[in-house]
């Protein structure tokens, strides 16, 4: 009896395994796809690799369908290779596999370190002058082509939002400096997301200056206590570094986008990075922005236990109106839409309040600053502002305008790129032209919940949500400037591990420390940080291999 069962079990196991293995070899793994009848190794099927990240892939399916429909005559096809989980590092490995082992034609991926991958160009392409990624200059500086297959009026480059356009230009000390290898498909704006119903409930206006922001937090904290509603929510378990998105904007507001960029690139006033790079940590913009964070970051202002919320848990509080705002990104809607569509679509991404100390330096009161900001938002000119606000100069108005128009983005975090050895290069490029056309942008906007960083004639879609409207407003207004912390990171930072905050335990957890630790005042962090970087500068140079 036992022997029979044993035999049965063995048979079943063997069967299961065979079935599995056969099923496995039935579906094609990563094998090169069928070449078209006319070309040797030229394919009409574009294989796109993308992951199920915060933005979902619904939009990609829609794009693929529309593309195939438009190019039915030519016989172009799209094959989607959707991966579970974030795959940036794996894609970096995959692209180095070369033409024999990798049939991906387009990568739409985040967390992909372009400079470090380009270093493998010679190893894979075996040719001194050929880069591992296909140059996209010929489509980038040309007009996009939509469903009607007609070139549009403006070139893609012209339509790109400023800042994002810069992200597309490859910067490095090798021979391909200045070419275009990547195109950024998503704006990924980040910043303060608000639930306006909470503000309305307690009679608080949406803040335009940082003083107003802090006052709003205080008011909601007092009035909302009885209702268990808090000014904001944050995710201390795994996302306290999101506060960076607020901090870096305030910094850029104070020191200007160029000041912020100098900080990123470790580019001191003297211009000699090797010798003086550490001086960028002395920028007073750092201190001023930290001061605001200091006042804002208070455990009383968020729900009990927020110190250990994960990001998804925190978002729930915002969506249901138990918190007034949180620092997050425009993927909020996509992540929450399953069951919170109504609530979250009524939330908004807020334009970052302007640093109040700017008002002080311009010689006006905070109320006046608020007024000036309002005027920027409603499209008034600098001259109008000078006239309406007593004590404000042209310079001041310009500074306020510039500050108001900055928004943070991790935008260059996701990139589209084509491996140079792709066997469907030409069709892939046509796909990208389609994706970045007016038609493509509209499809992405309709099916996805992120914006593409290219200006479009209209973003008219059916039933726009307040949320998406606010995102558009944040960026598509002609004057907005994005700042990023990633793509423009200097080689220095990329190689040595030098981050924004290095002295305190775990760099970016400085904001978590500000919550938990009285000692971590703005002044303390600023002083210790600058001292530390100055003393350790030689070490960082060594880590980066630059000394």
């Amino acid at each position: 009896m036992l022997k029979k069962t044993k035999r049965m079990v063995a048979l079943v196991l063997a069967l299961l395994m065979t079935v599995g293995l056969l099923a496995g070899c039935g579906t094609e793994g990563n094998t090169p796809d069928n070449p078209s009848p006319d070309g040797a190794g030229v394919s009409k099927t574009v294989v796109i690799r993308c992951n199920e990240g915060g933005f979902g892939v619904q939009w990609l399916h829609a794009l693929a369908e529309a593309f195939e429909a438009a190019y039915q005559e030519e016989g172009y096809k799209v094959k989607l290779d959707i991966i579970a989980g974030s795959q940036g590092a794996l894609n970096e490995q995959q692209i180095k596999l070369g033409p024999e082992k990798n049939d991906t034609d387009i990568y739409i991926t985040g967390e992909f370190n372009v400079p470090s991958v380009m270093q493998f160009s010679y190893k894979v392409m075996k040719d001194e002058s050929t880069a591992l990624l296909e140059p996209l200059d010929d489509i980038y500086y040309a007009p996009a082509v939509g469903a009607d297959k007609q070139p549009e009026e403006k070139t893609i480059a012209e339509r790109f939002f400023p800042g994002f356009a810069d992200a597309n230009i490859y910067q490095s000390d090798d021979q391909w400096n200045g070419k275009v290898f990547t195109m950024v498909p998503f704006v990924n704006s980040t910043g303060i997301a608000v639930n306006p119903s909470v503000f309305e409930r307690y009679g608080v206006k949406l803040p335009k200056t940082t003083d107003e922001l802090i006052a709003a937090a205080q008011t909601i904290s007092e009035k909302g206590k009885a209702d268990n509603v808090y000014p904001y929510v944050w995710a201390g378990n795994n996302a306290s570094s999101y506060w960076l998105y607020l901090w870096e904007v305030l910094f850029a507001q104070y020191s200007g986008v160029s000041g912020y960029m100098d900080f990123l690139m470790c580019n001191p006033d003297s211009g000699d990075m090797i010798k003086d790079g550490w001086q960028v940590y002395e920028d007073t913009g750092i201190l001023e922005s930290l001061k605001v964070m200091d006042e804002l970051l208070n455990l009383d202002y968020s729900a009990d236990g927020a110190v250990n919320f994960t990001h998804t848990e925190a978002q729930h509080y915002l969506a249901v109106g138990e918190a007034g705002f949180m620092v997050t990104g425009d993927w909020l809607l996509e992540e929450m839409e399953q069951d919170y569509y109504d609530e979250v679509s009524n939330c908004m991404m807020l334009k970052t309040p302007v640093l109040s100390v700017i008002g002080t330096e311009c010689g006006i009161t905070d109320e006046q600053l608020s007024q000036a900001v309002e005027m920027v938002d409603t499209g008034k000119t600098d001259a109008d502002m000078v006239a309406a606000v007593s004590g404000l100069t042209e310079e001041g108005a310009a500074r306020i305008r510039a500050a108001r128009n900055i928004y943070p983005s991790i935008g260059a975090a996701v990139n589209c790129m084509i491996p140079a050895y792709s066997d469907a290069k030409d069709v892939a490029k046509v796909f990208l032209q389609f994706m970045f056309s007016e038609d493509g942008c509209r499809i992405v906007r309709e099916e996805g919940t992120a914006l593409m960083p290219v200006a479009c004639e209209s973003y008219d879609v059916e039933n726009p949500t307040p949320f998406m409207d606010s995102v558009v407003n944040l960026m598509n207004n002609g004057e907005a400037t994005a700042i990023f912390e990633t793509y423009h990171s200097a080689m220095m930072r990329t190689r040595s591990g030098l981050s924004f905050f290095n002295y305190s335990t775990y760099g970016a957890q400085v904001f978590r420390s500000m919550f938990m630790n009285e000692e971590y005042t703005a002044q303390y962090i600023y002083e210790t940080e600058k001292q530390y970087v100055k003393e350790s500068w030689a070490n960082y140079l060594a880590y980066a291999g630059l000394s």
């Binding site: 270093q119 070490n539 880590y543």
Partner: protein
């Protein structure tokens, strides 16, 4: 052929056949080991001596480690002590407790079969599920907080149990207790089951009590198994990171060396933070160098004790 010649030839022929068998049997596993383990992992040792430009041999990563070690706010020393504490608590508190509990199960207390399965469920569920469940248990206004309120224990609701720097490491330790019973339990149970029945029968006749039986009979008998478990625990001293990673990744008070290393490895992959793999590779090597002699010493110590018992 005389019988004498036959006897002379037999040992060497037998030996040759033996060695052939051994060689054939071990050929594949050793080749597999070299190809799939040694080759890729050798690279990680090499990486410790390089910088991202790829080619030069340098000890910069080790220098960085010692430099970071000396910073006043460095997470390295606290992480080191946390790793050690987790190990010590595991061996000197959790272990004896599990032995006692397993012994009771061995004694077939009422419902022991049911309990055996239940206690093993954390191992079955896997870390990502158990940590999610644990977080729920100790979350704000969760069951544990309710119980603490009922008991009148003071704690900060604002920070919560996992968010409070003073209690976060304790929660990590307790998590280890909560999930750590199962795997050791089945090993120890297996060992107890192999103790010959005659010994128990004669102990009963001699009127040996519960505690004497445990300490003077069972413990020495299962000592080799305990040794293995202790050694296994030691191998994980500096690689243990799962609890911190899943429960309190951003809390410096809960960090372990394993997490310190893993953290760098994870952000290195993303290309966002500018981290590189060479540094954690070097740190990993340093702690391997520290833990290996420790393990060998412990093994020696345990073997000495083992040699006093043989069955």
């Amino acid at each position: 052929m005389t019988s004498k010649e036959k006897r002379v030839r037999l040992p060497s022929q037998k030996r040759r056949r033996e060695l052939l068998f051994v060689g054939l049997a071990l050929f594949w596993p050793i080749m597999q080991f070299i190809v799939f383990w040694v080759v890729p992992n050798f690279n990680s040792i090499v990486m410790a001596f390089r910088v991202p430009d790829g080619e030069t041999f340098t000890i910069v990563n080790f220098q960085r480690f010692f430099h970071e070690l000396q910073q006043p706010n460095s997470p390295i020393i606290p992480s080191f002590w946390n790793s050690i504490i987790l190990f010590v608590v595991n061996i000197f508190v959790q272990f004896p407790l599990v032995i006692l509990l397993t012994y009771v199960l061995f004694k077939k207390v009422y419902g022991h079969k049911f309990f055996r399965v239940i206690f093993y469920t954390p191992a079955i569920l896997g870390a990502s599920v158990t940590t999610a469940l644990y977080r729920y248990l100790i979350s704000a206004n969760g069951p544990v907080e309710h119980m603490l309120d009922w008991m009148g224990v003071e704690y900060s609701k604002q920070l919560g149990l996992l968010g409070n720097p003073e209690t976060v490491f304790l929660m990590i330790v307790l998590y280890g207790f909560w999930t750590g019973v199962g795997t050791n339990m089945i090993m120890i149970l297996g060992a107890m089951n192999r103790v010959p029945d005659e010994i128990f029968d004669s102990a009963r006749i001699d009127g040996v009590g519960f505690w004497r039986e445990l300490f003077q009979i069972i413990l020495p008998m299962i000592w080799p198994t305990l040794t293995t478990l202790i050694i296994f625990s030691m191998t994980g001293i500096f690689t243990n990171s799962a609890a911190t990673m899943l429960l309190a990744p951003d809390a410096p008070e809960a960090s372990t060396i394993g997490w310190y290393i893993t953290r760098f490895t994870m952000s290195a992959g993303s290309g966002l933070t500018g981290e590189i793999l060479n540094y954690p590779a070097a740190v990993g090597l340093i702690f391997t160098a520290i833990s290996f002699p420790l393990i060998m010493f412990t093994k020696w110590l345990c073997d000495k004790i083992t040699n006093t018992v043989e069955y």
